[in-house]
């Protein structure tokens, strides 16, 4: 009997230990931090190995005890973002899953991982306001760590029409942020100011509304792109490479 009690106690202690270990590695959405807006853009023209600097955002994964979780698999999922097309290119340590419309990477020792999401939108021919082109509203991006949803974010798209066929590289194509995106943004602002439903893709000031303030922010994005340090290259590395958007 004494032996049985000992065994039971031992098993119980082991169980508690394992339970503790398991809990310690489980992401806690209330202790983790995710952005409210995810900006999606392109590669720089001057150095296509780099993404537009303002795309970067960091996800921090912590457990219930507020301890950072290293090695956690973080997924930025765009399945609900109907007007977003991801670039298939794996930037840095990020991996793109075209089938599931997701980008994944792993946290560092501090439980953090920084993403820059490459992609574009399909908004090439917006209707006259007050109508607005179809697309996602707020919170279409879902952010997971180890399969647990940490939160949602709104997708903001620098390149309004980059993912519209025919896909290609150069001035004759839509890929990349350029002057041809400006009239689309103006139309989006007209729709926003006319009472059209909110579209997160044009909320460049990340404030939950689309108006003239967003044009001021977009002009910065456009200037950086025209200057070579923005999203001018879209998905492409150079003029000899086909534009690899996800289907």
């Amino acid at each position: 009997m004494t032996g049985l009690v000992r065994k039971a106690t031992l098993l119980g202690v082991c169980g508690l230990i394992f339970a503790g270990v398991a809990s310690a590695s489980v992401p806690d959405p209330t202790k983790s931090s995710v952005p409210l807006f995810v900006k999606v853009g392109g590669k720089q023209t001057t150095n296509p190995a780099l993404a537009h600097g303002s795309l970067a955002f960091t996800v921090t994964v912590r457990d219930f005890g507020n301890n950072p979780i290293a090695g956690a698999n973080v997924e930025i999922n765009f399945q609900n973002c109907t007007d977003t097309r991801l670039c298939s290119f794996n930037l840095g340590a990020q991996t793109v899953d075209c089938n599931n419309r997701a980008v994944r990477a792993t946290t560092n020792a501090a439980g953090q991982v920084t993403f820059s999401i490459l992609g574009g939108s399909t908004n090439s021919t917006p209707p006259a306001p007050p109508a607005v082109a179809a697309g996602a509203g707020a919170g279409c991006v879902r952010i997971f760590a180890e399969g647990i949803q940490l939160g949602v974010a709104t997708a903001v798209l620098y390149d309004q029409d980059g993912a519209v066929p025919p896909l290609g590289v150069g001035p004759a194509f839509r890929n990349g942020v350029k002057g041809s995106d400006l009239p689309i943004v103006l139309t989006e602002i007209g729709a926003g100011n006319s009472g059209a439903p909110y579209r997160g893709r044009s909320d460049y000031t990340a404030d939950g509304s689309v108006n003239g303030f967003d044009l001021a922010a977009f002009l910065v994005i456009l200037g950086e792109s025209n200057g070579g340090s923005g999203s001018g290259n879209g998905c492409s590395d150079n003029t000899a490479v086909a534009v690899p958007y996800c289907p």
């Binding site: 103006l186 007209g190 404030d207 509304s209 003239g212 303030f213 044009l215 001021a216």
Partner: protein, 260 residues
């Protein structure tokens, strides 16, 4: 205690800011020689080459730093009409879509807008700015308007990294120059868009000024100016219109609530 209340009341009375105002006029910026807020008869004769120029300036209650964008609403009402005449369908794809021009460039000459009443938000040639007419909506699309209404929305913006400080009243800021042309009247050889002669009232109903000062909710609302402010230009007519434009506008509270 009474003295304190009296002092507070006096301070509050003096703390009321100077009024922000909207000014709109034919021919030139309001306050410049040649400008007019009186009736403007359009010459709708085919081939006349007529153009009507409408200028907008505004004044802020105080010097405002960090200004990056202006959203504006101009309402039109068509007297005696049950819908919007074809000539006034100025929207993309509308009968007279080529009948309107818009610029946020004041121009380098001061003939039409004296520098004393038209400080620049954009460069004189428009450099450093983006924007234009963002929407032109008609009839029932105009909130609380009516079938004989149209609304023009515009945005002027500078890059958020390149804001400007705009002065307060009495100095005025140049905002827009809109040109209406009559090349598409019936018989002109262009699109046959009837209704050029329709008496029409124009009102610059609202301007929202944004600056880089992020407020609660994240939006940089610097000023909301509307046509109801005493001293602002009310409806200005063409073709002898006797009606005025009263349209729904967002109040400051409504605007702020959008961003909370």
């Amino acid at each position: 205690m009474k003295k304190l209340l009296l002092i507070c009341a006096a301070v509050m009375a003096f703390a009321v800011p100077a009024h922000a105002q909207l000014f709109m006029a034919w021919n030139a910026c309001d306050g410049t020689a040649g400008s007019s807020t009186a009736n403007m008869d359009f010459d709708c004769t085919p081939g006349s080459g007529f153009a009507a120029d409408l200028y907008g300036t505004f004044g802020l209650p105080a010097s405002t730093p960090g200004v990056v964008a202006i959203d504006g609403i101009i309402d039109l009402a068509f007297q005696g009409q049950t819908d919007v005449p074809a000539f006034w369908h100025l929207e993309t794809g509308g009968c007279n879509s080529s009948g309107i021009g818009y610029t946020f460039a004041r121009g380098t000459a001061t003939t039409f807008c004296a520098t004393t009443n038209s400080v620049l938000f954009c460069g004189s040639t428009g450099s450093g700015c983006g924007g234009g007419v963002t929407a032109y909506i008609n009839g029932s699309q105009v909130p609380l308007g009516g079938p004989n209404r149209a609304r023009l929305l515009f945005t002027n913006a500078r890059p958020a990294t390149s804001p400007v400080t705009l002065p307060g009243m009495p100095t005025r800021v140049f905002c827009f120059h809109i040109t209406f042309i009559t090349d598409n009247t019936p018989g002109s050889g262009g699109a046959d868009c009837a209704g050029c002669e329709t008496p029409t009232a124009f009102c610059w109903n609202q301007a929202v000024v944004f600056n880089n000062t992020v407020q609660a909710g994240g939006e940089g609302l610097a000023a909301l100016i509307d046509s109801a402010t005493p001293g602002s230009t009310g409806s200005i007519p063409n073709n002898g219109a006797l009606i005025s434009v009263t349209a729904s506008k967002k109040s400051w509270g409504q605007l702020k609530s959008l961003y909370r």
